[in-house]
Amino acid sequence: MEARELITEKLNDSQLRKNLDFAMSLLQTNRKKLLKDRYGDWEALREEGRKVKQNTLSRLPELLERFEENAKKNGIQVHWASDAKDANDIIYNLAKKNNVTKILKGKSMASEEIHFNAYLKKKGIQAIETDLGEIIIQLIDEPPVHIVVPAIHKNRYEIGEIFEKHLKVERFSEPKDLNAVARTHLRKEFQEFKMGLSGVNFAIANEGAIWLLENEGNGRMSTTVPDIHIAICGIEKIVESFDDAVILDTLLIPSATGQSITCYNNIITSPRKDGDLDGPKEVHVILLDHHRSDILSHKHYSKALSCIRCGTCMNHCPVYEKVGGHAYGATYPGPIGEVISPQIFGIDRYGYILNLCSLCGRCSEVCPVKIPLAEMIRDLRSEKAGQGSGEEILGISRIKPKMAEKLGFKIFAFLASTPWAWKSMLWGVKVFGPIGKPLAPLLPMIKQWTSCRAYPTLDASFQSQKLEGVIYE
C-alpha cells in the first residue's frame, strides 16, 4: 500500500485512534507522575545518561573488543554480523547443526530489524514468541506497532477476540484472564524447545555479561529453558560497566512504562556451569552492525546511537499517537524511527517518513538520553534537499531532487530578502486575499488548508497604517 493511503487508512480507523489515544495518555501520565513523585533531579540524571552514552560511543570499537574478550572468558560464544543476512545465517546454521525446527523467542527489536521470523519461515523453522504483545501480533500476522509495547494498538476486548479465534479458548476481556490464556498456551510450548532467542538491553564490556529487562517473566523462558540461548545485540547496546548500565536502566524504565523498575532483571554471565541444575548449555551473543558503524562515523547523526529504545519519544509524539506505528511502514516508527530507519534501511526508501513530524520538539524534550530528535529530523530533511552535512547517508544518491519544492523555496527566499518584492507580495495578498476564497479549490495549497479550516481573513493592512509615536524607517 502507498504510504499516503496507509496514513489515510489509519486515520480513519476510529477504534485504532481510540486505543492509541487511551494508551499514549496513560503512558504519558504514568511517566509524568513517577518523575514528579520519585525523581528529585531527573534533568541531572538525563545529563548523566547522555554523557555515559556519548563516552561509550566514542570508544565503541575498544569496548566491543573488551566485551568479546570477557564474554569468551565466561564461556559465552560471540559472533559478529555485519548485516541482516549475516545475523540470520548465523542463527540458521546453529539451528541446523542442532536439528532445531522451532525457536522460542523473547522480545527483540533487532530480530524485527533483520526480519528474522520471515527468514526462518522460508527455511522451514518456526519462531514462537513469548512476549504477550508479540504473541498477539504474531497470531494476527502483524509487525510490532511500537518498540516497547508491540500490540498497544489493540484493546483488551480485541485481544480477547484474537485469542478466542486463534487459540480456541473462551472469550475473555479481563487482563488477568488474558494473561492466563497466554501463559497456559506458552507453558505447553516451552518444554519442547531446544533453542531460545532474545534481545539485549545492555551488554557490559567489563563483565562480558548481558542484561535483559522484562515484565512478564515469559522472556526468561527463552533464555533459561532451552539448551541453547542466542542473544542478538545491536553494537550500540554496549556499555563499559555495571555502573553505567544502572544509570541507563534508571532512565529507561520510567521513560518506557512509568515504572521505576521492571519485574524481571535477567543478568546472564555464562552458560550452565558444572553442578548447575538448569540453564542453557550454550550461550551465543550476535553483535549486529547493520549500518550502525556508518551512523557512528557521522559527526552529526552518531548521537542517534545513544538510543536505549525506551519508546517514550513515540509515546509523546502527537503524530505517532494519531497514526500509530504501522503507518511509518518501517521497523522503527515514531521520532527515533524517523532518524534511524532512513539510515539503517536507506533514505531513498524511508525518506518520506521524515514528513510525519510537525517539529513540535516534544521528543527531544522527553528523550532520557537527550537525543536532539526533532533537530535531526529537520537536518535529515536538509540531506534530502541536498543541503545537509555533506556526509554520506545510506541511499542518498538514489534520491531524486524535488524540483518544484526547491523552486518554491528559492522564490520564498527571494521574496523574503528583497523588500520591494515582499511589499508587492503583501499588496497582492491585500488585494487578492479577500477574493481568494472562491479560487480556493483551484489552488492546491489553499485547498489543503481549507479542507478542514475556514478561509482566513488576509487583510494585510498593517503595512499601510501609520501609528502615532512609531518611528518608521
Binding site: I7, D379, S382, F412, Q448, C452, R453, Y472, E473
Partner: protein, 242 residues
Amino acid sequence: MKVYFFGTCLGNMAYSKALVSSIKLLQHYGAQVIYKKDQSCCGQPSFNSGYYEETRKVALANINLFDQPYPIVIPSGSCAGMMIHDYLELFKDTPHFERVQEFSSRVYDLSDFLLNHLNANLCDTGEKTTVTWHSNCHALRVSKCVEASKTLIRMLENVNLVELEREEECCGFGGTFSIKEPEISKTMVEKKIQDILSRNVEYIISGDGGCLLNISGAMKKMGCDVKPAHLYEFLAQRIGLE
C-alpha cells in the same frame, strides 16, 4: 528605550490588529517603537523543510536590516525562537557567526520583554471572563516564553485562566506540515479543539499567529462558539488600550 518591532510575515498578512495592539502595549509600558518598513519573515518555512541555504539568505537580510544595537521585539514566541536559537545553528562554523550571535542576543519575545524588561503591570478593566491558553511548541521549547505569556494573563484580575488538559501538545500547524500532511494536521487540530471545548471557556488565547490561524480556522469550520483571541490583542483590550 528604543526597540525594533518585528511583526512577522503572518502578523502582517492576517493579524494586523494584534500588531497594532503589540505596539500599543510596548508604547504604554515605556518603549519607543521603531518599525522597519523593509521587514519580511524570519525564515521558518524554508528552515523547517530543510532548505538551509535559502534560510540563510533570509536570515542575513534580517540581520542587515536590524543593524542598530536596539532590542528586536517579536509578538510570536515561535519566530523569536527561530531568531534567538535557530539562527545560531544555521550559521555555526560560518564567518557570519559572531554577527549572528550579536543579533540573536538582541531578540525577545514580546511577553518576555513586557514582563521582564519593561516590568509591565497589567491593570484589568474588563468584565469577568474565563479563558484557556494554547502553547505554541517553539514558544514552549525553544524561546521558552510561555510562562511569561501566562503570567501576563494571570495578572488580569477579572480573567480566570483554565488550563487545557494537553496544553503542551502541538495543534498540528507546524508551518508547511499543515500543507504537506493535511490529514494528520486536521486530526491534530480536531483533538486540540476537543480539549478546548471541554474547558467551558469564553476565549481560547494563543500568542502565535500560526497556531491561532489553524485553531480558529478549524473551529469556525466546525461551528464552535469559543472565541479565538491573539494574546496581545486580548491584553491590550483588557487594559483599555483600544
